[in-house]
């Protein structure tokens, strides 16, 4: 393999991993607070279509991303009210959010299929982008990739050294004890779910405004589900979410490597790779049940009943 190919592959792996990273970071926060939202795919798609439409009509990428974020938050609150206010089953409600979001995005985006926008362009950071091998992968990317680095760092710090992070974890580990010492369990969970929605929305915007600057029905292609697996893969740890996202990114673009090396496979068979990889990763990680018991937030998926 020549160095040019390695550079291109790594750069593409980070780019491809970025939407996964954004979704998985948001969902990690929600899950740490004890809420499992299976609606990631729906929020991604609605974020993608709203971001695309706003950018197409206003010409502003900034407004597009803000619309995508807002759309994600609104979608997540639909889920939040059902799950946190009405104590509906989290699995079923998350599925409903995905089904609804898939339909809603296809409906509002039907008139926008095939229209072009000018996507987010990469900005090479002087000097840093010249570092061999990792330079162009990490420092010749678009603004959202850089912001995803910042988000990862901030969340790492948030859970490691802030009171806020501690509250989120306490609420997810033992909501009853958290409530007993006066922590606001449900408001914390609402915020965590909304944050997850914002991140999924932005990730959707990234798909339709940067990764492939266009809108197509179902364009997220299961990324929301892969991100959910990624959270398990990362054992709910921020730094591992990032590593995992780029590994999945790499698995998703292996066909570029294959083409670069002169192999030719059916594109349909190669398209299976990220899904097969996800299953393999789940198998490797889950076969030791003690491990996930150890790392998973204890109250994950359980409703909280405030005892009075």
């Amino acid at each position: 393999m020549d160095i040019e190919l390695v550079n291109n592959v790594l750069q593409a792996a980070v780019r491809t991993g970025t939407p996964l990273l954004l979704v998985a970071l948001g969902e990690t926060v929600a899950e740490k607070s004890g809420v499992l939202n299976l609606g990631q795919e729906g929020m991604l798609l609605v974020g993608a279509v709203m971001g695309f439409i706003v950018t197409l009509t206003t010409g502003s990428l900034m407004l597009g991303f803000m619309a995508a974020m807002l759309a994600g938050v609104l979608m997540s609150m639909l889920f939040g009210v059902l799950v946190l206010k009405l104590n509906a089953n989290q699995y079923a409600t998350g599925l409903a959010l995905t089904i609804f979001g898939t339909g809603l995005s296809a409906f509002i985006g039907a008139g926008y299929v095939g229209q072009p926008v000018t996507g987010l362009e990469p900005i090479a950071i002087p000097l840093l982008s010249d570092i061999p091998i990792v330079g162009s992968a990490l420092f010749n990317q678009d603004l959202m990739v850089y912001l995803s680095f910042v988000a990862t760092a901030v969340l790492f710090w948030f859970f490691k050294s802030t009171r806020g992070g501690l509250i989120v974890k306490a609420v997810g580990e033992s909501p009853d004890s958290a409530n007993a010492i006066g922590l606001p369990v449900l408001p914390t969970r609402y915020l965590a779910v909304a944050f997850g929605g914002a991140m999924a929305g932005v990730a959707g915007g990234y798909l339709s405004l940067a990764y492939t600057p266009l809108w197509a029905e179902n364009m997220s292609a299961g990324r929301g589900w892969i991100a959910l697996a990624l959270v398990v893969f990362a054992s709910w740890r921020i730094e591992r979410v990032m590593l995992g996202a780029y590994l999945f990114g790499l698995a998703s673009i292996l066909h570029l490597v294959a083409q670069g090396l002169g192999f030719s496979f059916s594109p349909n068979l190669l398209a299976m790779l990220p899904y097969v990889a996800t299953i393999l990763v789940l198998v490797m990680l889950s076969s030791n049940p003690a491990r996930n018991k150890l790392y998973a937030p204890v109250s994950l998926g359980q409703p909280f009943f405030k005892s009075t």
Partner: protein
């Protein structure tokens, strides 16, 4: 302000009222949505719910669509009762269609009576095997079945695309991504002249009775329900949990596989890139809407079939996107989950907030 009060006992009739309430709320929301889109809401709802079944062909078509949905939803009901979250009916359906086609295209000139049963058998077994993968992963490696079945859906879809663009493509088909047309001996016989309704709906209804017997009358069904309600109680009673998980998944996979092969051997007659407009996903909603009971699921699958037809009708008559169907499906499930809250809680209107005593 609204206050939610836990009921002393869960309401006995709310589980049946809730789906009706959810349907009503979806209708009202639909009417508002159509009005907002500048359509006459009454006319639009009539286009969705009545126009599609206003002639015999339409009624036949209703059963053509209800069949596969019912088969998938029956299997899912069994799985969900066992607390096994099979989201993979769509993939199991696709694999059934794929495997059935793989056999049928070998015998496009055959007139043998054995062909149709063999094709159906291939489809059922393929659906079972696809679900068995998830069962193996869950029981052997402890992986979450929601994620694995979803991933298997995407893999099945791509596998079908590969086959229909490659090995199963009709060699005389001008390079279209379609298999050869199946022999008549491989097709499900029609039940009516001038309509597409075929034996599939009968197979689905027979399956509904079988699932009803399994769940309501058999010890195995009893074990499944105990496992779903309280896995610890099931363990205490000595029920073999892993075997029940296998059973729930393989049974639902087989039914979904039958749904898939019923599509290619039924109305389609060949393998094409799109053999399902999302029946396997719609079946999730149908299973919940039908209260995981064969009778309820049967009624709900007819409603869902009507929604699919209504969506097509709205596209033709009102020029609105077909995606409306998916949106209504999601909305229906949301309303259902919200209404289900009333099973355990009652809603009270409190005229003024209760005074806090510190």
């Amino acid at each position: 302000m609204i206050k939610m009060e836990p009921r002393q006992e869960s309401s006995p009739w709310m589980p049946y009222v809730s789906p009706l309430l959810a349907g009503g709320l979806t209708l009202i929301t639909g009417a508002i949505l159509f009005a907002a889109l500048g359509q006459d809401p009454i006319f639009a709802l009539k286009t969705v719910l009545i126009t599609p079944i206003s002639d015999a062909y339409g009624v036949g078509e209703l059963f053509v669509k209800a069949g596969p949905i019912l088969l998938c939803a029956l299997g899912l009901s069994v799985a969900y009762r066992a607390n096994v979250w099979n989201i993979g009916a769509e993939g199991q359906l696709l694999m059934g269609g794929l495997a059935g086609s793989a056999l049928a295209v070998q015998f496009t000139e055959s007139e043998g009576l054995w062909l149709l049963p063999a094709v159906l058998f291939f489809g059922i077994v393929a659906g079972m095997l696809w679900a068995a993968l998830a069962a193996l992963l869950k029981t052997r490696f402890n992986t979450n079945e929601i994620l694995t079945t979803i991933m298997l859906n995407y893999i099945a879809f791509n596998l079908l695309q590969y086959c229909v663009h490659g090995p199963l493509k009709d060699p005389h088909g001008f390079n279209f991504p379609e298999s050869a047309m199946f022999a008549d001996a491989a097709r499900l016989p029609l039940l009516m002249e001038d309509a597409r309704v075929h034996l599939g709906i009968i197979l689905a209804l027979v399956s509904a009775v079988a699932v009803w017997v399994l769940l309501g009358k058999s010890f195995l069904g009893y074990q499944i329900q105990v496992l779903g309600r309280d896995s610890r109680a099931a363990k205490m009673a000595g029920f073999k949990e892993k075997r029940l998980v296998w059973l729930a998944l393989v049974l639902s996979g087989g039914l979904a596989g039958l749904a898939g092969v019923g599509e290619v051997a039924g109305p389609i007659g060949q393998l094409v890139p799109q053999i399902s407009p999302g029946y396997g996903y719609a079946a999730i909603i149908v299973a919940f809407l039908g209260r995981l009971h064969p009778v309820g699921v049967t009624l709900a699958s007819i409603l869902m079939a009507l929604l699919f037809m209504g969506g097509e009708m709205v596209q033709i008559e009102l020029n609105l996107p077909l995606a409306l169907v998916g949106m209504f499906q999601g909305m229906l499930l949301f309303y259902l989950l919200a209404c289900d809250v009333l099973i355990l809680y009652r809603i009270r209107w409190v005229s003024k907030p209760a005074v806090q005593t510190a």
